[in-house]
Structures are given as C-alpha cells and as structure tokens.
C-alpha cells in the first residue's frame, strides 16, 4: 500500500489547483483536463484505500499522526485516519467531485478560477472526513466555506450575491459555535484529568469523557450544553429546520456543478460531524437527545416535503426535497440502533448520488430550455427523451424505489427507528409512522413534478432541442449506476460500515 495514502488523497487536489494556477487562463481545455485528471487520480487513490480497507476492523485505519503545532500545554497533531464511517464518505467526495467536474465542463467564464476553487473545496471536504484531530477537523471544515462562497457569488444565478453571503454568514456562525464547543471539549477534558491530558484528538477525548474516574468534573449539564452546541453547529450544515434557510437560496443560485457538490457532499459533513464528534465523544448525551433528534428528523421530513409540494421552481423543489431526505438520516441516527445508524450512513451516500443526479438533470434541462419553472416545461419526453428518462429515473431513485439506493437506506432507517428501545425514544413507533407518511409525500411532489415536466404536452418551442451529449452521459450513467449498484447489492457498502456501526452502538449502549 502507498505510504501516507490519506495525505496523498487529501492534498492531491491542492497540487492540481496549484498546477492550474500555473497555466495561462486562455488554455481552457488544458485547465479542464488538469482538473478532471486530478480528480480522477484522487478517485483512484481513494478506491485503492477502499480496496485496502480492512472490513473486519472497527477502529481507524491508514492512520497518520504527526505533531504539528505546539501551543504550550496543547499539542495539535496532524492526525488522519478512516473507519467504516468515513470511508464511504471519502469515496463519495471523490466520486461526486469527479462527476461534478465533468458536469462543469460547460463553464465558459473564468475557467481557471472555477476549477481552482473546486479543487480546493475537494481538499477541504476530503480533509473533514479523515481528520481525527478537532483542530484539523475545524480547519478543513472552514476550508470548504471560502471556495463555495466564491463559486456561488461568481458563477451563480441572478440572486447569487445575497445567496452566497447568506451561506457564508450562516455557516460561519455555525462554525463559531462549533469552535467554542471544541474548545470547551478539549479544555474541560484537560481540567477533568487534573491538567494531565491536553488533547484535541477525537478518540482520546472520547476515552476521557467515557472514563468514569473523571466524570465528577464533567457534569451532565455541561455535557448536554456541549452536545447542544455541536448539534446547532452541525444542524446548520445538515441542515436541520429551522436553521435551513440558507439552503434553498444557495442550492438554487449555485451553478450545476456546485449544487451537486453542495447537496451531494457538503451537507453530509453535518451528519458526519454529528456521528463522529457528538456521538463519538458524548455517547451518553446521544441517548438523552435521541427523542429530540428523532422529532427534528420527522419535522425535517414533513416540513421539507410539504414545502416541496408547492414549489414552482424545479431546482427549489429539489432543494427542499433534500431537506426532507436528510430527515431520514436524523431518524436513523436518533434510533441508536445498528440498523438505524447504518441506514443513516447509507442515506448519506445514496442521497449524495441521487441529489447530485437530480441537480445535474435540472441543470442540463435549464441549459436547453432556459427555464426551471415547472409549469413552463412539459413534454420533455418528446423533446429530449434521454434526459427525460434519466430525470424520471432520478426522481424514482429519490422517492425510494427498490433496486435503487434510496430504498435500502430508508428501509434500514425505518427498521432502526421502529426498533428503537422505548427507554431511549418513548413513542418511537408513532414518530416512525409519521416519518413513514413522509414517504408518501415524497412520491407526491416528485411525481407531480414529473407529470408536469417529462410528461404532458410538449411546448412547440422545445422542438428540436439537442438531447444528451456524450459528455453528459458520464455523470448521468455514473450516478445512476452507483445508485443502482448500492440498491441491488448493498453489501458492497454495508460490509465496510457494519463493524464500525456496531462499535458506535455498543459504546452508546454501554
């Protein structure tokens, strides 16, 4: 195996970005190929990690640990590692970014900056999923903000500036809360161990917090406070209602490739942080907050679905559907059962593929028809049959059609929440049934949208639109194929996740 594989994976996109900076801005095709090449090599590296990943082990693998910054008592380490939780997400980042770069080849203006920012964003995202040190995690978490800000504010739609500023401030505030929680975690652990253990390392902190000898200093209200702060910080990213209002604007205004990244990967950082940091370090609080999170999940599902039902803009509809779908993640996470948490991770991956495909399809259709208003489309099956077919397939995947990945994650999440113990979540079944009703609404808004866009009479002005180009087949077939692969043979994912999930649940249970 390649030494320091994770460092290679994380920083290779940055190397590509530097290379692009060295190229004159006129050579657009060279820039595009470098961007694509960089992401493909990163993808191959991450596939190597996927293959080399030991599925029987629950702990961190490919570990790298170097002392980095010395702050007196506190040593900050450059700690990298992947486990069953982060491995699928790592691969998700490289896959979605590669496909999003392919989908961005039609960007004409300021190509150089665009791909530079995308590659920097990729480094940030990859870093978040492998960092094992809170400081490093925070650094990468912040590193994702700036590229997105510029990507939206330069290449976005009509309302791009307010959208990008809202995104930046909202997420910046979330990060501020997060960093406070991190410092509280590290400092309280330092204090609790009689100033002997100064660390930002996640698993070291987890050990300290679970150590019964130090629990005297760490009161429940303190832990609850930190958990809540972390929840708020990650809620902004996920997003959880009512901290979601940056999302519709950002998703809608962002260019297609960036929407794919935002919805496909960026939102997953929130859920990942929740599982890795909140659940990892404060497992007992995970139980206390389970009901709260489950209710938030149901609210997310229904709220997003109801609002999606009345949207007139196709892209906005997908943005709200995204809120609704991430509610399922919350339901699964809240259940603190193996099935539920595995379902949540499945949903993260699956939603990543599906929502990216949906945004890509909307982008491709917008490029041709110049509208995203549902009522102005119609009869796309006639004018662009291939695109319409993929659009329909994406909608079907999104509404949880078996055989595609969405179904597996919904199934697991619901097995989890229905099976949640009554001590953890009272009335779990009621919550679960209400959540399941959300599935009907998902079908309702997606089918209604499909009925009015792909079906129906064709507008004469759309006659003779060009159907899918060869370049467009790559993301379409890639994303749908991945969704199909997971849907038909979920073991390919579950054998990576399962051991780690068992470990997480046993820590929470024990």
């Amino acid at each position: 195996m390649i030494p320091n594989l994770l460092t290679w994976i994380v920083f290779f996109p940055l190397v590509g970005a530097l290379l692009i900076l060295a190229i004159p801005r006129e050579q657009k095709n060279a820039i595009r190929s470098i961007a694509a090449g960089t992401s493909i090599i990163t993808l191959i590296l991450s596939i190597l990690a996927w293959i080399g990943f030991d599925r029987s082990q629950s702990g961190m693998q490919f570990v790298e640990s170097y002392s980095w910054i010395n702050l007196g008592d506190f040593q900050i380490y450059y700690d990298l590692g992947v486990d069953g939780l982060s491995m699928p997400l790592l691969l998700l980042v490289t896959l979605i970014t590669t496909l999003s770069i392919t989908a961005s080849f039609n960007i004409k203006e300021r190509v150089k900056e665009y791909f530079t920012w995308i590659l920097i964003l990729m480094t940030g995202l990859l870093g978040v999923f492998v960092a094992q040190d809170l400081f490093l995690f925070f650094l990468f978490f912040e590193l994702t903000l700036i590229p997105v800000f510029f990507l939206i504010s330069i290449w976005g739609g009509k309302e791009r500036e307010p959208a990008s500023i809202k995104f930046l401030i909202y997420n910046g505030l979330g990060s501020a809360v997060m960093v406070m929680a991190f410092i509280a975690l590290a400092y309280k652990a330092f204090e609790a161990t009689a100033f002997s253990h100064a660390t930002f390392n996640i698993s070291a902190l987890a050990d300290i917090f679970s150590n019964p000898e130090v629990s005297g200093v760490l009161t429940d209200s303190l832990k609850a406070g930190i958990f809540l702060a972390l929840l708020i910080a990650f809620a902004v990213k996920l997003p959880i209602i009512p901290l979601h209002t940056w999302l519709p604007n950002a998703y809608v205004e962002a260019p297609t490739g960036v929407s794919m990244m935002l919805a496909g990967v960026l939102s997953k950082m929130g859920a990942y942080g929740l599982l890795r940091i909140s659940y990892g370090i404060l497992p007992d609080q995970a139980v206390n907050f389970a009901t709260f999170i489950a209710i938030l999940g149901v609210v997310n599902i229904l709220y997003g679905a109801f609002i999606a039902l009345v949207q007139t803009d196709l892209k906005k509809l997908i943005a709200y559907s995204s809120i609704s779908h991430l509610g399922i993640v919350l339901l699964g996470v809240a259940s603190v059962t193996e099935a539920g948490i595995q379902g949540a991770v499945f949903q993260l991956v699956s939603h990543g593929f599906i929502v990216a495909l949906l945004f890509f399809m909307v982008g491709a259709i917008y490029e041709r028809t110049n509208t995203r208003t549902i009522s102005e489309l119609g009869g796309l099956s006639k004018s662009v049959p291939v695109l319409a077919g993929f659009m329909l397939a994406a909608a079907m995947a999104s509404l949880g059609l078996p055989g595609l990945s969405g179904f597996v994650s919904e199934l697991l999440a619901f097995i989890g929440i229905f099976g949640a113990s009554a001590e953890i979540i009272p009335a779990a079944r009621v919550i679960a049934v209400v959540g399941a009703i959300g599935i009907i609404f998902t079908a309702a808004y997606l089918l209604w949208a499909m009925q009015r866009t792909t079906f129906g009479k064709m507008d004469e002005k759309y006659l003779g639109l060009p159907d899918a180009r060869p370049m467009e087949y790559i993301p379409m077939i890639g994303l749908l194929g991945l969704s199909l692969l997971i849907g038909v043979y979920p073991s390919i994912l579950s054998d990576v996740i399962n051991t780690t999930v068992i470990d997480i649940v046993s820590k929470i249970g024990g």
Partner: protein, 620 residues
C-alpha cells in the same frame, strides 16, 4: 430444471435491456424480442411446474445486506403457489406480447412499449419467486413502477399522465403500510423469511395485538395494489394506458399481487381473527361497491376495470373467510378470463377505430366473429356459467363464505354475482348485438390479435377443471401441501345450482333490457335518479379525496412555505437588517477625524485601567 427457475424472470429482463439499448434500431422487430423472451419463460415455467408437482420446494439464497448481527438474504423459491403463479404470469404475459404486436404497431415508440412490458414481466415474475417478504416488496414496487410507466405510456395525453401519477401515489399509500408491516415483522421476528414469521406466530413469540397490527399493515399494501376499497380509485383511471397493458397488469397479474400477498402470508393472517374479518369485509364491500358502479358505466374498459375490482374483492372475501384455495383458484381463473375480456375489448377498440364508449358500438357480432365468440366465452366465464372456469372458482368462494357462517357476507356475495352477470351481459348485448351505432365500419383483426383470444378462450373454458370435483380438487391438494391453511370448504350440488341460477338471472335481466329491449334502458335510471347519479359519479370518491386529502396538503404546503419564507427566513433577514442598520447608524456618528478617535481611545484606555484598579486591585 427447478434450479434454473431464476432464468424465468431473467429472460424478460434481457429483453428489457436489449430493447433499452437497441430499441431504436429494432423498432417494430422489438415485438419479436419480447415474444421470444416470454415464450422461453413460459416453457421454463411449465417445466418448473411439472417438476414441482410431486417434487420438493426449492430455495436458493445469497446474502444481501448485513447490519449489526442481522443478515438479510435474497434469492428465489419454488413453492406450489408460486409455481402456479409462474404459469399464469408467463402465459398471460406471452399472449399479451403477441397481441400487442399488431395493437401497438402504429405507435412509433413500440420498442419502448415492449421494453416496459419486459421490465414488468421481470418484476412480476421476481415478485412471484421471492423467498422472503422484503424481496417481494422490492419487486412489488417495481411492478408499481412499470404500471406507472405503462399507464403513462401515452404521456402526451394529460389524462394518461395524471392517471399514471394517481396509480403510483394511491398504491404508494398502501405500500407504506406494507413497508411498516414488514419492518414491524422484522423487529418482532428478526427475519424477513416467511417461514420464520409463521414459526414465530405458531410459537406465540408475537403478541396477538402485534400479529393483528402487522397483518393489517400488510393487508393495507394488498388493498392498494389490488385496488380494494377505499384505495381503488386508481384502477379505473389506469385504463388510460394501452389496452394490452390493462389486460396484463390491471386485470391478470399485478392487481392480483395483493391477493397473492395475502395468500403467501396466509398462515400469519390465520393467526388473527380480527385481521381475517377485516379482509373479508373489505373484500365484500369492494366487490359490491365496484359492481354497482360497473352497472351504469359506458366505457368498455372502465366497466371491465370495475369488474376487476369487484372480482378482486371476491378473492379477498374468499381469503378472509378461510377460503385459501378458493381465493387463489379464483385468482387463476380470473386472470385467464379477465385477460381474455380485456384483449377482446382491445380487439373491439382496435376494430372500431379507437372508440371505447359502448353506446357507439353495437352489432359487432356479425362483423368481428372471433372476437365476439371469445368475448362471449369470457363473459359467460365471469358470470359463472357451468362448466366454464368462473363457475368452479366462484362456487368455491360461495362455499367458503357460507361455511364461514356470516349471512351478511354471503348475501353480498350472491348479490354481487348477480350484478356481475348483469353488467357483463349489458356490455355484451350493447356492444355486440343490435345495430352498429358508430361512424367507421368495424373490421375483424388478424391472427396476431385473434390467436391470443382463442388461446385464452380455451383456457377460460378449461382452467376451472383443475379444481373441479371430478378431478378430485387437484389444485387444492397441490396448493395446501406443506402449509397450514386449515380445512377448505366445498359446496355441494345445491350451492352450484343456486350460483348458476343467480348467474342466469343476471344474464336474463340484461337480455330483457339490452337484448330484447322489453324494458327501456332509461326506465331504471329514471326511477332511481339519485342512485343513478351517485353511481355515474362513482360515489364521488375522487371528489372526496380531492377535498379531504389533496387540497389540505397543498394548503399546508403553501402555509408552511409562507412561514418558511416570511417567518423563519424573515427572522434571519431581520437579524441581518438590524445588524446592518445598527452598523450604518453608528457609522454615521463617525467624523473620520483620527484625532477624535485618538481622544476616545485614550479616555477609554484610562477608564479600563482605572476600572481594573478599583475592581480587582490588579496592580495593587
């Protein structure tokens, strides 16, 4: 051979993939790809059935997913029930494939049509072969998808697009129930396997309430798929799809999947009397409810659709009254004669140039001989005339309802049987006898369309014999082997005569009104004006759902969207506005004179130091 049963669904899948990739090249030749695939499937299905008779149940599974300590498997299984279903599905699908070659040849998307048919056949056969309920659910949803695609095949017609959506959504309501049932079952038993579920019930591991809840959730899925009251509203609208699709999906196979589901889970249902009673009552209500609507409808396909709903209700009624074999036997015979009737209707519609209103038909008997004769056979079969298939299966149902001892249910069954005979022959007399009332002269169709009719016509005659007294109720022996479904009731000679008399009564009344015209057609509607209006409007169910479900949901959506934009986002924007205005307000106070700033800074600094002195004694 039985080990190769997995190939049965794979052939249509191959056809689907081939047509998806090369359909545009093949065009009309697509039909032959589909027909070949289904013919192979049918041959395999026959071979599997013969091997299964007298053989053993064969199961093959592989691991599908692991979570925690649980492992879920997928694979296939050949039991007597699904061996029978394989024959029904492959046979009906094959004849529909053949029939569609001509019926659809004018459509330039015929290859798409055949690819969807292939996907459907794959899904339906997969559903039948599923060894556990989760896999059944997976294919259950896939057949729903195919139904959606095929109902919406003529997507440019707004009615078709809307019907497709309605079909998918309405069944989705049931599907969510089914999914909940499956998940609850899993949580109760830790497995999706049928056998584990039955064993857990038998061992009393699941509380009685839970058994009832799970059974009802599963039944909700069946209600949606088999268009039982109150989720039946999608099936009549689904007639917007091409007629061969209606024959295959919305008459013979997919809609019967709900009945099949209850059949597969039957030992589970038997453990809960409440669940069984509800199944019986829902079936009975559906049967009579749909039959009454069929009495007054004018659209040839919709009459058949309501008839299908009604007959599915009959099957549920049988299952609900412990008539396991009766229900599934009727499923089989119904598949044949209803497919026959639908294809007959398709032939008629094709012959009269795409008209569906029976008021614009008439006198087809002389013009379309083969269609008329086979249609008559189908009508006689569904009415329950000796010795056609429907007679035997209906009589079994009567027997089980009678044995169950609920007079109310028995009365409904008899009344419905009477109505069935009446509306079928109302249709027959109006469309096939008298004078032709359309404007284009109808014509008989060629062999590709009539051959399926003849095949199904023969089956509609003989299919009932497999469970007739003179064959020793062979089907019953086959289906009940190795599964505890209780004693099956049989009617005697008396019951047979009663059911025959009722059927003849219905036919006679139809003949009096529509054949001989001794009583005017408008006499009864005129007499019961309100009732007629109610029936013509299908009991206003669609309108009711619009008012009760659709509008409130859209209303809630709009309200929430307003809240989202103006209140939730409003608060955020308000914060932004406040921050900005405070900032610019304070900004106005700034003179830009650095000397002023300096003075303020120094005074501030001195104040801080002074404070530190006073409060903390920091320097002291």
């Amino acid at each position: 051979m039985i080990q190769n049963a997995w190939l049965i669904p794979v052939f249509p899948l191959i056809a689907f993939v081939v047509l998806l990739l090369f359909g545009r090249v093949l065009r009309e030749k697509a039909a032959y790809v589909g027909i070949t695939a289904l013919a192979l499937s049918f041959i395999f299905a026959v071979a599997v059935l013969f091997e299964r008779i007298g053989g053993e149940t064969y199961t093959f599974v592989v691991d599908w997913i692991t979570f925690g300590e649980s492992t879920v498997t997928m694979g296939y299984e050949v039991t007597p029930l699904n061996a029978m279903m394989l024959i029904v599905v492959t046979l009906v699908s094959l004849v529909v494939h053949i029939f569609s070659r001509d019926y659809m040849h004018e459509d330039d998307r015929i290859h798409v049509f055949y690819s969807y048919l292939g996907l459907f056949s794959f899904s339906m056969l997969g559903l039948v072969l599923a060894p556990n309920i989760l896999q059944l659910f997976i294919f259950w949803e896939l057949v729903g998808l195919c139904s959606f695609l095929l109902v919406g095949f003529w997507y440019y017609k707004p009615e078709a697009a809307s019907a497709a959506k309605k079909a998918f959504l309405t069944t989705r309501v049931g599907d969510v129930g089914l999914l909940i049932g499956i998940v609850l079952l899993f949580n109760a038993t830790g497995s999706f396997e049928y056998a584990d579920a039955f064993a857990a019930v038998e061992a009393g591991l699941i509380s009685d309430t839970m058994v009832t809840v799970i059974a009802l959730c599963i039944f909700l899925g069946a209600v949606g798929k088999s268009a039982q009251f109150p989720l039946h509203v999608w099936l009549p609208d689904a007639m917007e799809g091409p007629t061969p699709v209606s024959a295959l999906i919305h008459a013979a196979t997919m809609v019967a999947a709900g009945v099949y589901l209850v059949g597969v889970m039957y030992p589970f249902f038997l453990a809960s009397d409440t669940a069984l009673t509800i199944v019986a009552y829902v079936g009975a209500i559906t049967a009579i409810f749909a039959a009454t609507i069929a009495l007054v409808n004018h659209d040839i396909k919709r009459i058949l659709a309501y008839s299908t709903i009604s007959q599915l209700g009959f099957m549920m009624l049988a299952l609900g009254t412990a008539g396991y074999v009766a229900g599934l036997f009727h499923l089989m015979t119904h598949a044949f004669f209803k497919a026959l009737l639908f294809l007959g209707a398709g032939s008629v519609i094709y012959g009269v140039h795409h008209r569906q209103d029976i008021r614009e038909m008439g006198g087809l008997w002389r013009r379309m001989k083969v269609t008329s004769v086979t249609f008559l056979i189908g009508a006689l079969a569904i009415a329950g005339i000796f010795p056609l298939a429907g007679f035997w299966s209906k009589e079994e149902i009567f027997a089980s309802v009678l044995a169950n001892g609920d007079p109310f249910l028995f009365a409904i069954a008899l009344i419905t049987a009477f109505m069935t005979a009446f509306y079928m022959f109302r249709l027959f007399f109006k469309a096939f006898t008298g004078e032709f009332r359309g404007d284009h002269e109808p014509h008989e169709n060629n062999g590709f369309m009539t051959l399926p009719l003849i095949v199904l016509g023969i089956l509609a005659v003989v299919a009932g014999f497999v469970n007739a007294p003179f064959t020793g109720h062979a089907l019953e022996g086959f289906l009940t082997e190795g599964i505890a479904v209780g004693e099956q009731a049989h009617g005697g000679f008396g019951l047979a005569v009663v059911s025959l008399l009722i059927a003849i009564g219905g036919i006679f009344l139809a003949w009096v009104i529509y054949g001989k015209r001794s009583i005017s057609e408008d006499f009864l509607p005129g007499k019961f004006r309100a009732a007629h209006r109610l029936l013509m409007n299908k009991y206003f169910m669609d309108e009711l759902y619009t008012v009760v479900f659709v509008r409130p949901c859209v209303g809630i959506g709009k309200a929430l969207y307003a809240i989202d934009r103006f209140i939730v986002d409003g608060i955020v924007n308000l914060l932004a506005v406040v921050t900005r205005s405070v900032g610019s307000g304070l900004g106005k106070r700034q003179t830009g004179q650095f000397q002023t700033y300096g003075v303020v800074t120094i005074i501030g600094g001195i104040a801080v130091v002074a404070l530190a002195f006073m409060l903390r004694g920091y320097f002291g």
